[in-house]
């Protein structure tokens, strides 16, 4: 059942130096949604490294492209979306063998999904099958991946994962989806994603529909999983307070581009990109000063007609002439902190 032990069979491997500390490298990814009359560029030229054993968070609002990125990693972007160019490399937990997602065959993809990378979806209400018990769904997934799975082995594994998320296995496995509360359903989904012991878990807004106390509880569970089992995590959210509390690295996305990336403390302290600064200044908190808070002016980006030059320039308070005409280059810091802005010179 374990991806590392059962020896997932992949055919082609790559050599890269990034494999030492990263579990996944996304390189110059471009994703389009091709409609009849026009096409929308959901992700443009994004390069991102996910460090092994750490929690990386991606912050973005509507239209930033983070959900598309999650689907791209699993190579299941819904029609009419298509990956135009770029590569996604998965280095695995030992870093010895690297595979490229787009080049995987159907069979290899089926092994890759859920064993190497799994996902917890937004809104757990619709992700569970309403006519099957929880155990039936767990068993079905395990059987699909390994036909020789026996019912006892499946039951044992289900109990293991449910204990990790603090649910009582004897009671929960017999229940149906509608008998569970929102928080319990989300915990079942997290357990579901842990079934085959993946190396990377993607969490798409895992706590948006939940209340604050359940959110805190679930995020603490996720942190514990990360520390104890070494599972890397990619957390997609729009709430920067959650990011501040739980993520080790944070990336900020706007209109399909990664505009800032770095260590959480560094990003929050330096606030290099104006969008990051704007987001932090626009989030009220419980105790901090209320005086400096200001919303970001303008409207959300129109993905059909992206502005020329820097995508953020219509709303940027520090917009200069060069921002209106030229795309800002990627500027890297010594510590690997990435910023995409004309204000910051390398």
């Amino acid at each position: 059942m374990d991806a590392r032990q059962s020896g997932v069979i992949f055919k082609t491997f790559y050599e890269t130096d990034k494999a030492k500390e990263n579990i996944m490298t996304i390189s110059k990814l471009v994703v389009d949604y091709r409609l009849k009359r026009y096409s929308i560029r959901a992700i443009s030229d994004t390069t991102l490294n996910l460090k092994r054993g750490k929690i990386t968070a991606l912050v973005g609002e509507s239209g930033s492209g983070k959900s598309t990125l999650a689907s791209a990693i699993l190579n299941c972007i819904p029609n009419p979306g298509v990956i135009v160019s770029g590569e996604i490399y998965f280095h695995g937990n030992n870093g010895e063998k690297t595979i490229e997602i787009r080049k995987l065959s159907e069979k290899e993809l089926n092994q890759y999904r859920w064993r190497c990378v799994s996902m917890v979806f937004q809104g757990a209400q619709s992700a569970l099958n309403p006519v099957m018990t929880i155990f039936a769904q767990f068993y079905e997934t395990m059987k699909v991946h390994d036909k020789k799975t026996s019912k006892e082995a499946a039951y044992k594994r289900s109990c293991e994962v449910l204990k990790i998320v603090n649910l009582d296995p004897d009671r929960t496995l017999k229940m149906y989806a509608h008998e569970l509360s929102g928080g319990m359903k989300q915990r079942v989904m997290i357990a579901f994603s842990l079934l085959l012991n993946p190396d990377l878990i993607i969490l798409d807004e895992p706590t948006t529909a939940l209340d604050v106390i359940t959110q805190d509880y679930i995020l603490n569970i996720l942190k514990r999983i990360n520390r104890e089992m070494g599972t890397s995590m990619l957390l997609l959210t729009h709430d920067i307070a959650v990011v501040a509390k739980f993520a080790d690295y944070v990336g900020v996305m706007y209109a399909g581009k990664l505009v800032e990336y770095g260590d959480t403390l560094a990003v929050f302290e330096k606030k290099l990109h104006p969008y990051t600064a704007g987001l932090i200044n626009a989030t009220p908190s419980l105790y901090a000063d209320l005086e400096g808070l200001k919303p970001i002016g303008g409207n959300p980006p129109d993905l059909v007609n992206l502005p020329k030059g820097c995508v953020f320039h219509p709303r940027c308070p520090k917009c200069m002439e060069v921002c209106k005409n030229y795309m800002p280059p990627d500027t890297f810091d010594s510590s690997g902190h990435l910023v995409k802005c004309h204000l910051i010179k390398g």
Partner: protein
């Protein structure tokens, strides 16, 4: 917000507080003409225009009425059409400019759908045939025993019937009555079905339950046998009574669907807030709910026309309608009675009305589907 906008906002807030009378600004005139609502049309004119359409019994008379009514009636009709375009959200706005743009978008999308175009052409063909066909292909009721069951020739394009009359001429002559019956049935059925459905959906409670039981009754008893019974009781002499008979049983399905839509609309947020804002019930029904179901009703209109034709032809075939012999159903009746099925030369006589009905049905279905696809955003492939 920019400083200039902020100043405007503050000024407006002050006005709101002191309830200053609005000062008229001269430069506002062009803004008014651009954004004038269709409510400019007074209700009286709309009614006149509508009644003019309802009063006619054939399409030909309608044109005469409008011509006689003069400029006012014509303007009322165009205004009524405009208003209904908005109600059906085809025009999509309250200004001339937006109306034209919306109509053009609709036409472009509609006619890019090949099936819809085909459907429209077929229906248009039949409408024209009903209106003007008699001028092109005359109908000669004189019987000529010697010429019976002639094959198609240049003189008789579809041959002749058992009494030597031109088949094509009969087809064309009969199309007017057939279409009139279909149209009238549709109008009456839609009116009854919508009213009952809306009453049932809005009233709720006991009234809703009673009406639903009655509707169930009408739905579970098959309509055609009942129609035959009714037709044999009431004498059918003109298209109107024919339409009444056909619609007695047909309203049930539409009323059930309309009720479902109304019940779901009732709980929607924008209807709930009308209660908070103390808007009258008639406003809620006619101005908020009705435009949302108008598209559905229009499509049902066309579907019911289709069912009406089948029903009317069936009744006529059974000989229950005293009618002129040129009607399609009457043609089939005579074909059946005179044993045309057994006579090979009479094939054209027998099949002409059947094929005509088939083509009409197909046209109606294609048109209805095309309208549904264009107006219903969920079905579009975009």
């Amino acid at each position: 917000m920019s400083q200039q906008n902020r100043d405007i906002q503050q000024e407006r807030i002050k006005q709101y507080l002191t309830e200053e009378k609005m000062f008229k600004r001269a430069d506002r005139k062009e803004d008014y003409s651009l954004s004038r609502s269709i409510r400019e049309i007074s209700v009286k004119n709309v009614k006149k225009g509508f009644l003019a359409i309802f009063n006619m019994s054939t399409w030909g008379k309608a044109v005469q009425v409008i011509r006689k009514g003069g400029k006012a009636a014509r303007k009322a009709c165009t205004n009524a059409v405009k208003k209904w375009m908005v109600v059906l959200s085809l025009g999509r706005a309250a200004t001339w400019k937006n109306l034209v743009i919306g109509l053009w978008k609709f036409i472009k999308m509609f006619f890019s759908n090949k099936k819809a175009t085909a459907g429209t052409i077929i229906m248009l063909f039949f409408v024209l045939m009903a209106l003007f066909g008699r001028l092109i292909i005359p109908y000669d009721p004189i019987t000529d025993e010697n010429n019976k069951y002639l094959p198609p020739s240049t003189e008789h394009l579809l041959g002749t019937d058992n009494l030597g009359r031109d088949v094509l001429g009969q087809l064309v002559y009969g199309s007017r009555d057939v279409l009139t019956i279909a149209l009238l049935t549709s109008l009456i059925t839609v009116f009854i079905g919508t009213s009952i459905g809306m009453l049932s959906g809005l009233a709720g409670g006991v009234i809703d339950n009673i009406i639903q039981i009655i509707t169930n009754l009408f739905l579970s008893i098959p309509s055609f046998p009942v129609l035959l019974i009714f037709a044999s009781f009431f004498t059918i002499e003109d298209p109107f009574s024919f339409a009444m008979v056909l619609s007695i049983w047909g309203w049930a399905g539409l009323s059930r669907a309309v009720r479902a839509q109304i019940v779901s609309l009732r709980e929607r947020d924008f209807i709930q807030i009308c209660k908070v804002m103390n808007l009258s019930k008639s406003h809620i029904i006619f101005k908020e709910m009705f435009p949302n179901i108008a598209t559905y009703i229009l499509i049902n209109f066309i579907v019911i026309m289709r069912n009406a034709i089948t029903g009317s032809v069936g009744i006529m075939m059974m000989g229950l309608a005293d009618f002129q012999p040129s009607n399609w159903g009457a043609m089939l009746l005579r074909a059946k009675d005179t044993g045309a099925i057994l006579i090979p030369e009479a094939t054209y006589f027998l099949f002409a009305p059947i094929v005509a009905i088939m083509i009409f049905q197909m046209g109606a279905i294609l048109l209805a589907n095309g309208l549904d696809e264009t107006l219903n955003p969920r079905l579009r492939e975009d």
